[in-house]
């Protein structure tokens, strides 16, 4: 009987939602190779893939229906947001000021 199963690719560390029946496995999402088409270096490509997985963003329809969720996935993949970037600017300028 087919079952929805979370599956982690042991080689890449990427998470997938799959339909599984015994040894047979069919990926539901995120689409395999999607992030590889973006020319992202590792580990960002895998981080983004797993962020899409956690947010259940598997299809074009899901992505366009919740655009904000996509931005959240990007921030999560990069471990970066407005607060961290602001802090970086602040620290950079503080170091530049001669004492």
């Amino acid at each position: 009987m087919m079952q929805n199963v979370e599956w982690k690719d042991p080689e890449t560390g990427r998470m997938y939602e799959t339909m599984q029946d015994g040894d047979q496995r069919m990926v539901i999402g995120p689409p395999e190779g999607l992030v590889d088409n973006l020319s992202l270096p590792e580990p960002f490509a895998t981080n983004l893939h797993n962020a899409l997985y956690r947010r259940k963003l598997f299809t074009y329809k899901q992505v366009t229906a919740n655009h904000k969720n996509l931005i959240g996935a990007l921030q999560e993949a990069l471990s970066l947001d407005a607060q961290i970037l602001t802090e970086a600017f602040y620290n950079f300028e503080k170091e530049e000021v001669p004492t």
């Binding site: 956690r54 904000k68 921030q75 999560e76 471990s79 947001d81 607060q83 802090e87 620290n91």
Partner: protein
């Protein structure tokens, strides 16, 4: 206290203090020099009118089958001053037609010029509005008519109530065997006969994860902390925490970061020992567990948590829905306050400050007051005026913005602290802060909307209760001069619950 110990207040023991524009975090009260309350304050709260029906036992008679509460009126008062060659404050009030809040500072042997600690009691007249200005003895034909010239204003206010010095005592010592995570107060429902708003105190106590493990417990008191009962929170495991709690309707609702869910039970059934615990997991996202909850009303609550996630809670029994999926920030959010059903403020790590003015349809971020610092507490005093406290790893500063986060100013506190755990107000004027110093927490109180803060307990002979830290504060009514705080006792293993009252 015997009758001989009572020191009755007389008219000369009362001084008038005012806040032009009404209480606000940026405005401290001022003493009305040469002034007094010229007409004694009073307020009609409405008479009960009979609802009648024909008497079934006698013609020509009726019987009372109910009553209708009459309309409550605004309080009335008047203040007067001696007229001097200086500019008249009272005429300014008349001409500006602004709100002026009044305090009657009462004392016998303090310093009437010290608002926060010079008196022994304050009577607060909120939302003061001037309705009339007049002079007295404005002219004379001769020395036989000569009298001091005075002027006065009539005013009305939105009722009035007292503020008293607050003591501090530890309660529930026999049951607080482990750390207390949260303290909340159930103020009762409208159908109860004269409920005491501060009597029903509810505390979540940590479990013990040693084998076989003790689950977290709710400690509850029906008499303001004199006696306590306890019950296991059956839906939590022994290693699961209670990150925050809130009363929603007649339920006590806890959020757990580790279990990533809501746990709740009916409070009135709890006191009858007929309750059951329920858990809601629906809507929570894996690894985005809750850290804080705030409720505007029974149908509008917000939970914030890890990864910048904001959840909306329409019905805590059903679950939550994601309102912001770490889009505005990816930082862990540590505190949230829902001022009403539209306006909500949240703060978190790395100086994250988020807010919504449309009930969460859209969330916005502003640059917080302390770059790189984790913010641990927040309170939306009004739509644009917010308090934010620095959390773990910060410098314990309290910050204020009056323009929705465009600019921030540091609020002056009686001492310096390591972190602010909680900010809570019960009215515009009265609020509390739990602030950690090295190895203990201090409770601070304001009765001036945060413009001035004093350390509790008050009074020369008052002694603070030792503790390691106090992570939660609860208040019950603006009329009661009572607050509760809870956390870890000074021995580092037991819990502690503090009651602060007069």
């Amino acid at each position: 206290m015997s009758a001989n110990d009572v020191q009755a207040i007389s008219a000369l023991n009362v001084r008038v203090w005012y806040v032009e524009g009404g209480v606000h975090p940026t405005r401290s009260p001022s003493l009305l020099s040469l002034g007094k309350f010229s007409t004694d304050p009073s307020q009609a709260i409405g008479e009960q009118t009979r609802i009648t029906a024909p008497d079934p036992n006698a013609f020509n008679r009726d019987i009372q089958v109910g009553t209708v509460q009459g309309a409550e009126e605004r309080a009335t008062l008047a203040v007067g001053i001696r007229t001097t060659p200086q500019r008249s404050l009272l005429i300014d009030w008349k001409n500006k037609r602004c709100r002026v809040d009044f305090y009657a500072l009462m004392g016998k042997c303090g310093n009437p010029q010290d608002f926060t600690e010079g008196g022994e009691k304050w009577v607060y007249f909120p939302d003061g509005r001037i309705s009339n200005h007049g002079y007295e003895n404005f002219g004379a034909y001769g020395s036989d008519e000569n009298n001091p010239t005075n002027e006065m204003v009539d005013a009305s206010s939105d009722g009035y109530w007292e503020y008293l010095y607050m003591k501090q005592e530890a309660i529930g010592g026999s049951v607080t065997t482990r750390e207390i995570y949260t303290v909340d107060v159930y103020t009762g429902n409208d159908c109860e006969n004269c409920p005491e708003p501060c009597d029903r105190v509810l505390c979540a106590m940590a479990g013990a994860s040693a084998t076989p493990g003790t689950k977290p417990t709710i400690l509850y008191s029906a008499d303001g902390g004199e006696t306590w009962s306890s019950q296991t929170i059956t839906t939590l495991f022994s290693n699961e925490d209670v990150a925050d709690g809130v009363v929603i309707g007649s339920d006590i609702v806890y959020v757990s970061n580790i279990s990533n869910s809501i746990h709740y039970t009916n409070i009135e059934l709890l006191y009858d020992s007929t309750n059951t615990w329920q858990e809601s997991t629906s809507g929570f996202v894996l690894n985005k567990g809750p850290r804080a909850i705030s409720s505007a009303d029974a149908r509008h609550s917000w939970v914030v948590g890890d990864g910048g996630y904001v959840y909306f809670v329409k019905n805590h029994k059903v679950g939550v829905e994601v309102q912001d999926a770490g889009v505005v920030t990816t930082q862990n959010l540590n505190s949230v306050h829902a001022m009403d059903i539209l306006r909500v403020l949240a703060v978190g790590n790395s100086n994250a400050v988020l807010y919504t003015t449309n009930g969460g349809v859209s969330w916005l971020s502003v640059t917080g007051p302390a770059v790189g610092v984790a913010l641990g507490a927040c309170w939306m005093w009004d739509a644009t005026t917010w308090f934010v406290g620095e959390g773990a790893g910060g410098n314990g500063r309290l910050w204020l913005t009056v323009n929705s986060g465009r600019t921030w100013t540091q609020v002056g506190l009686p001492s310096s602290y390591l972190r602010i755990d909680k900010i809570v107000f019960i009215s515009d004027a009265e609020g509390y802060i739990s602030a950690r110093t090295g190895g203990t927490s201090i409770i601070l109180r304001t009765i001036t909307a945060g413009a001035e803060w004093v350390t509790l307990p008050q009074g020369k002979r008052a002694v603070a209760v030792e503790n390691s830290y106090l992570r939660d504060v609860a208040v019950c009514s603006k009329f009661t001069n009572t607050a509760f705080a809870a956390g870890l006792a000074d021995n580092g293993t037991a819990g502690v619950i503090l009651k602060m009252t007069n």
